[in-house]
Amino acid sequence: MNSENQILRLSTSPHLKANEDVPAIMFNVVMALIPVALFAIVSFGISAFFVIATSTVACVLTEHLSCVIAKKTTSIRDWSAVVTGIILGLTLPPGTPLWIAALGGVFGVGMAKVLFGGIGCNCFNPALVGRAFLQIAFPVAITTWTPSMLPGRFTHLIPSTLTTPFMKMNLEGVNNYIDTALATTGVDGWSGATPLSMWKFADTPQFESSVRLFTGMVPGSTGETASWLIILCGLYLIWRKMMNWRITAGMLLSAFLLSGAFWLTDRAAYPDPVFMLFSGGLIFGATFMATDMVASPMTSAGVWVYGAFIGIVTVVIRIFGALPEGVMFAILLGNAVSPLINQITQPRVYGITRKRKA
């Protein structure tokens, strides 16, 4: 060859680069969420599908439009809005009116992400912010549950799904729908409660069997019921090194130990720690929400502190709070203290003996 005319490119070291970029990581999270979403659709029917799809589309559109308004190139290609949307959809009850699901997405991405400056700048997990907003604004819609595996779930929408925006939800319709469907299977009596609220609000605490909890055969938010599947999907992400398992482990361990301590003091009033782990959104939150990279600490000691903190707060809210479910607020609180945790857990820099002033 003629090396006289060789064009040489100049750049600074390092000249090699690991393959994974942000879209690749986010895409893998989407991949890990899809089985959970499919199980949600299998157990709760087409309404669940529409809820998840709506929140996802709302999140992506919000992100895209805000980029258009700000005259920036759209950032939806990094898949992070899709992740937020699916997670939000999976934390909603299957019969959530679609307009509410959409509003949650718009609020979450708009207020918690775009306003802060987009991906990487948010201090709270956008899906959680959206979910928390809905919990406060629409307490009824967000706590109206349907049993899983209802007959006819693939052919009929839950009546509340198509509620007109800003109209009151037709609770009676939902109950009728459930009763009719249940009647065909010979089961009667639907308490309308999740395992957690049955424990918390029933006159005598009732505990759902751990097996049913683990396999997901219980009412609850679309994506949080099937613990086994969530754990499998989490393992995939851990294997791909795209999720910090220490946060999940810290959270589950602390929740287990603390609720175990309560249970040992009074076995009739407090649920056993296994029930604590597999009920509600603890497994889902620990796997997909607390591990949000942006809002969690970065130091190797800090992630343990952070996980343990969320686990403890979750149990405290569940046992002493007014709400049956505490995972969401516990994680939001964890997000809020994560900068502080970061600061106090900075490792010692190599070769520095003096404590850093920081």
Binding site: D21, M298, S300, T353
Partner: protein, 443 residues
């Protein structure tokens, strides 16, 4: 040797790409001329001793050391001095050099040198002999070896660390040296121990080179305080600070030198050259270079006279049109070369002709930092590259240096390598350091 391989915490595992490991070292044909840069090392440039038109013999000293932290240069080939003047150096600047035209009829096998009985030399005389030989660190840093052998007053070196890690991808020179020149390495290690007065020598080899490990174990006599240790294969295992932590659990203090904790660290290739040249009283005139990458059709390890142009080396290795970037050194810390007319220097351990698919995309989209902490978990110095990156983009260079230990960053590249947002962290840090240097100089 311990059973478990030791290591330092953090670091990365880039793909090794050590394609040239299997082939024996070959000598390149003689280049028509060589350009001997007067500054191929850290420290003061050498001073030319020859004039235009003068005949020089291979191995003859052509430039003397320009001070204590400086080394002399020797003629890599027999021939005639064509000129003494400015040429392009590997940094892309113009620098002084002696250009020697090869004498086509001369016998290049003959090398000038006065054999010396090194066993009779005192440690001080040994250090002088090392300087006379023009020895510098051949691993890439090109720091004068004799300076390392004479630790500052009040410091005592108790351990000589011999670095056979070669953790940079692609490079295999040290590996070949360990297989082919193992007796010289052991001889060099002995000399280094004698010159420094150290109690023991530790030879460190990554556990992806079992053959090298075995070769060295077999060559080390039992009755000498020389031990061989296997280290985990991880980048940057071969950095002095990481070696000191992995082998001896000693941290080199921030801003300090390994000698502060009683350690002196030498590359295997450096010691091999020392063991080879010192008894013969010869100077450093050639070295082994890994020529590799997708852009050359005959990659391998070549013995090349110092001062040979990159063009000559690469053309002999069969450079193709696919070559997109030439790197002097390894792909993690080496520098890209702006021209093929640059001469090979003492510190050139590798010459990589990489194709487009092999290097990081230059125009990859940069995402905001997603705080994934990959850089934090990779940084062997336990810095927070993410935070430093954010500050750099806000141009808060002072606070980077004062409260975030910017100056402890040794630009190993781990953080940039792992960052999924493609943030050019190391580059930002270099800029920040340069600005801080300038500001403190003008204060």
């Amino acid at each position: 040797m311990r059973k478990m391989a030791s290591t330092f915490p953090h670091g990365i595992h880039p793909t090794e790409c050590k394609h040239t490991a299997g082939a024996a070292t070959k000598r390149l044909p003689w280049p028509p001329e060589v350009t001997v840069l007067l500054s191929q090392h850290i420290g003061a440039p050498a001073k030319a001793l020859v004039k235009k038109g003068q005949q020089v013999k291979r191995g003859e000293m052509v430039a003397e050391a320009g001070g204590f932290v400086s080394v002399p240069m020797h003629a890599p080939i027999t021939g005639k001095v064509k000129s003494v003047g400015l040429t392009l150096n590997p940094r892309g600047d113009m620098a002084s050099a002696i250009i020697i035209e090869r004498d086509a009829d001369a016998d290049q096998e003959e090398i000038v040198g006065d054999a010396q009985a090194i066993d009779d030399l005192s440690p001080e005389e040994l250090v002088q002999a090392v300087q006379r030989a023009g020895m510098v660190g051949l691993g890439g840093a090109a720091f004068p070896t004799h300076v390392k052998l004479s630790p500052p007053k009040g410091k005592r070196v108790d351990t000589v660390v011999v670095n056979g890690c070669e953790c940079e991808p692609y490079l295999t020179t040290d590996y070949r040296v360990m297989l082919e020149e193992v007796t010289w390495i052991v001889e060099g290690a002995r000399l280094a121990r004698r010159a420094t007065g150290a109690d023991e020598v530790v030879i460190a080899i990554e556990n992806n080179k079992p053959e090298a490990l075995e070769a060295i174990m077999n060559a080390v006599p039992n009755n000498e305080p020389i031990s061989v240790r296997s280290l985990t294969t991880k980048y940057p295992q071969g950095a002095e600070k990481m070696l000191s932590r992995a082998l001896l659990n000693r941290d080199v203090p921030s801003g300090g030198l390994p000698s502060d904790v009683g350690v002196a660290c030498f590359n295997v290739a450096t010691l091999a050259k020392m063991g080879q040249l010192l008894p013969k009283g010869q100077g450093l005139i050639e070295r082994i270079v890994t020529v590799s990458g997708g852009g050359v059709s005959r990659p391998g390890n070549y013995i090349v006279p110092l001062g040979t142009s990159l063009r000559f080396v690469l053309e002999h290795a069969g450079m193709t049109d696919n070559t997109c970037t030439i790197i002097n050194g390894g792909p993690m810390m080496g520098a890209t070369m702006p021209s093929l007319d640059i001469p090979l220097a003492k510190g050139t351990s590798g010459l990589l002709a990489l194709t487009k698919n092999e290097i990081r995309e230059s125009n990859a989209h940069i995402f905001p930092c997603i705080r994934c902490a990959r850089c934090v978990d990779a940084c062997p110095m336990f810095l927070n590259p993410s935070m430093l990156g954010l500050l750099a983009r806000k141009e808060r260079y002072e606070s980077m240096g004062e409260t975030h230990n910017l100056n402890d960053c040794f630009e190993c590249g781990c953080c940039s390598y792992v960052c999924p947002s493609n943030i050019p962290l190391v580059h930002l840090f270099r800029v920040a350091k340069a600005v801080n240097r300038e500001r403190s100089a003008s204060k």
